[in-house]
Each structure stands twice: as C-alpha cells, then as structure tokens.
C-alpha cells in the first residue's frame, strides 16, 4: 500500500489523520476524560462568554458603549432575528436561552480555528448530544404544557386531512421524525460539521508536511496544500457561526411547532 509508505516516511507526523486525533491524552498525561483539553475548552468558553457579557453589561447605558452595543446586538439578533421571527411574540421568553445557546455553540465552534486550541469541543459528540437533549426536553415539555399530553401527541403524530388508511404509516413516519430523528439530526449535524472540519484541516496541513518529507520536489504541492488549509480555515470560520445559527434556528423551529395553535 502506498499509504503505508507515507506513514513510514513521514517520521513523527501522525499520518494519516485518524479518529484517535480527536482523543488526546488528558492534561495530566493520562487517559482520563474529566480533565482534558475538551473539558478545559468548554470551561474556557463559559468563562469567555461570562466575562464578556458581565463586563459589557456591568454598567449599561441608554446610549451604549461599543462592548455594550456588541453584547446587545448578539442578544438582539437571537431575540428579534430568531425567537420573535420563528416562534412569534411567545418566543420572547425563550430569547435568553436561545442567546445563551448561540453564544455557547459559536464560541466552542470557533475554537476549531483558534491557534493552539484548534479543535472544537463539539467534535466530541457528547456536547452536541447534551445541547440537542435540552432542546428535545424543552420541545416536549412546552408542547405538553401548552396542549396537554394527548393533544400534543395528536398534533405531532396525526397530520390533518389525510385518509384513514394512510394514518398508520403517517403516524409511524411523523413519530419517527418528530421524536426520534429530530434530536439525532440536531446533534449529528453539529458534531459532523465540527468533526469533518477538523479532519479536513488536519489533512491539508499535515499533508503538506508529509509530502515535503516524502520528496522535496513535492514542495509546490505542499504549498498548494497549505494554501488550501488557510482557505479552508476561513471557510471553517463561516461554518462555525453558521452551525451555531442553524442549531438555534432549529431549536426555535421545534419550539414553534410545540407552541403552535394547530397544524
């Protein structure tokens, strides 16, 4: 296999990138999972967001300072751009949670391209699953609270105006979609984007070194590879914010369906 030759020639560069690249030794050098780069990054994200908001909103003014304006813009974007837009006036009560969710995902995502961190905690599926689970619980809780269990189930499972003989099939499909696929797709989408993004950056960055080590004549190709890595990093930045937006958007869209009056 030619890839075997590459591995041998690349010396200490771990090649090709593998799933193990996402499971680094913990901060004490062992194999624990409580004190790893990932958990540290999650705490770091929490600290950054808290410090930013608490400092920016320490002494709010009617005419905002730059930091206050930025903080208000982020919240306002979630409040008016997502909560109010998708859920309607009822959505305003979810705005604080949605804004928190957005900030958390955006910051943890953007770690993927911050030098030295360079990986997003969300490339470990535990965090996306946790966030999707909260969304799922909120979705079902508000649906049952608003409509009662029976009515909410009927709303979620039985589409209006369909012939009776189709109902068994439709109930199966709707149930699968609303109660099983929703949390899965929500967490998988975020996880896969962050996982694949990191993998791509590894491939192009390390690939450049691997080719250079294999043969000095491949230097131009290495340069191309690194140029692509830089381009992909910028692209990744876009993906990071976009995925945070999509996650919040879908969360509010689910909440909207559970709060909707009728189908």
């Amino acid at each position: 296999m030619s890839s075997t030759a590459l591995v041998l020639s690349s010396g200490d560069i771990p090649w090709p990138p593998s799933i193990d690249d996402f499971y680094l030794p913990d901060l004490t050098g062992g194999h624990g999972v409580l004190l790893t780069k990932f958990t540290a990054m999650v705490w770091l994200a929490v600290a950054i967001i808290l410090v930013f908001f608490l400092v920016a909103y320490r002494n709010p003014k009617m005419v905002p300072s730059k930091a206050q304006w930025l903080a208000e813009s982020i919240y306002g974007f979630n409040r008016d751009g997502i909560a109010k837009e998708i859920i309607g006036h009822d959505g305003l009560r979810f705005a604080p949670y949605l804004a928190t969710l957005f900030c958390f995902i955006a910051v943890t995502n953007i770690f993927a391209i911050i030098p030295l961190l360079q990986i997003s905690p969300n490339s470990h599926i535990a965090f996306p699953i946790l966030l999707a689970l909260i969304t799922y619980v909120l979705y079902i809780y508000w649906g049952i609270k608003k409509h009662g269990f029976g009515h909410f189930m009927k709303m979620s499972l039985v589409p209006p105006n369909v012939p009776g003989w189709l109902l068994p099939l439709l109930i199966l499909i709707e149930g699968l979609q609303n109660f099983i696929l929703r949390p899965f797709t929500l967490s998988l989408r975020l996880f896969a984007n962050m996982f694949a993004g990191h993998m791509m950056l590894l491939v192009f960055t390390l690939g450049g070194f691997v080719m250079l080590n294999a043969n000095t004549l491949l230097f131009p190709v290495s340069l191309l590879s690194w140029a692509l890595a830089i381009g992909l990093t910028l692209f990744e930045a876009l993906i990071c914010l976009l995925q945070a937006y999509v996650f919040v958007l879908l969360t509010s869209s689910y909440l909207q369906t559970s709060l909707a009056e009728e189908h």
């Binding site: 890839s3 604080p96 804004a99 599926i125």
Partner: protein
Amino acid sequence: MAYLAFFAPEGEGATEHNPIVPIWQEMLIGAVAFGVLCFILMKFVFPRMNQMFEARVDAIEGGIARAEKAQAEAQQVLSQYKAQLAEARTEAARIRDEARADAEGIRQDVLAKAREESERIVAAGKEQLAGERQSIVRELRLEMGTLAVNLAERIVGESLADEARRKGTVDRFLAEIETAGAK
C-alpha cells in the same frame, strides 16, 4: 494503529474510540458548564438587556408622545390666540363704530350749541343795539331841543326857553321831522 483506525473503522482501533458514542463524563461536565452559563446569563444579563430595550422603546415612544402633546398644546394655544385676535378685531371695530357715532353726536351737539350760542349772542347784540339806539335817540332829541332853543334864543334874543318848554314846541317840531323822515 492510527492508520488502521482510519482505514478500518470496524477494526480494533475503532472500538476504543467511537466518535458517535458520547463520553458520559463529558456530557456531565458540559451540562454543569452550560448550566452555569445559562444560570448567570439568563438571570443577570439578558433580563437587564430586556429592561434596557424596553427603556429605550419607552424613551423613544415617550419622546414621540411628549412631542405630540406639545404640538397639540401649541395647536390649542394657536387657535385660542386666533379666536382672541378675531374677538379683539370685532371689539375694535365695534369701538371704532361707537366712537364714530359718539363723535358724530358730539359734533352735532357742539354745532347745535354753537348755533344756539351765536343766535343768543346775535339776539343780545340786537337788543343791546336797539336799547342803545333808543337812548341815543333820546339823548339826541334832548340835545337837539336844547341846541335849537339856544339857537332860537340867540336869534330872537328873547328868552324863549321857558315858553318853548312850556308849550312843547320843540317836541312837536321834532315829531314833525320824524314823521316827515319816515315818509
């Protein structure tokens, strides 16, 4: 091993780290961290932002309301001024008319009084004139009689004075002259 994991995810390398199996400890830490974040932001930051947004809306809408109120007040004051102005104009016109009427009345009065006065003066003058004429005539008659008697005395040389006085010759004579003059 790493290479095996990449090309053979079903191999033994993958069983150790399956990327779609969550590490439950990480979920726990994530839950605590995200919980702390939610608690602080949703309790201390975003409600204050909501208040600030509302305060801003209030400030803007309050400003608009105040401006509208001020405008309404200004409108009211303007119409009030206009009404007062119109009232004042009619009042002024009325006063002018009255004054004109008064002036006319006064003029008529003054004129009438003046006419009366002048008539009175003329009448008094006439009366006086007549009286003076009477007295002058009387004096002249007396004097003329005396003069005529004196003249006659000198001509006749006699003292006719007593006789003439006695007989009223002079008076008769003068009466004749008067009647002759009157003819």
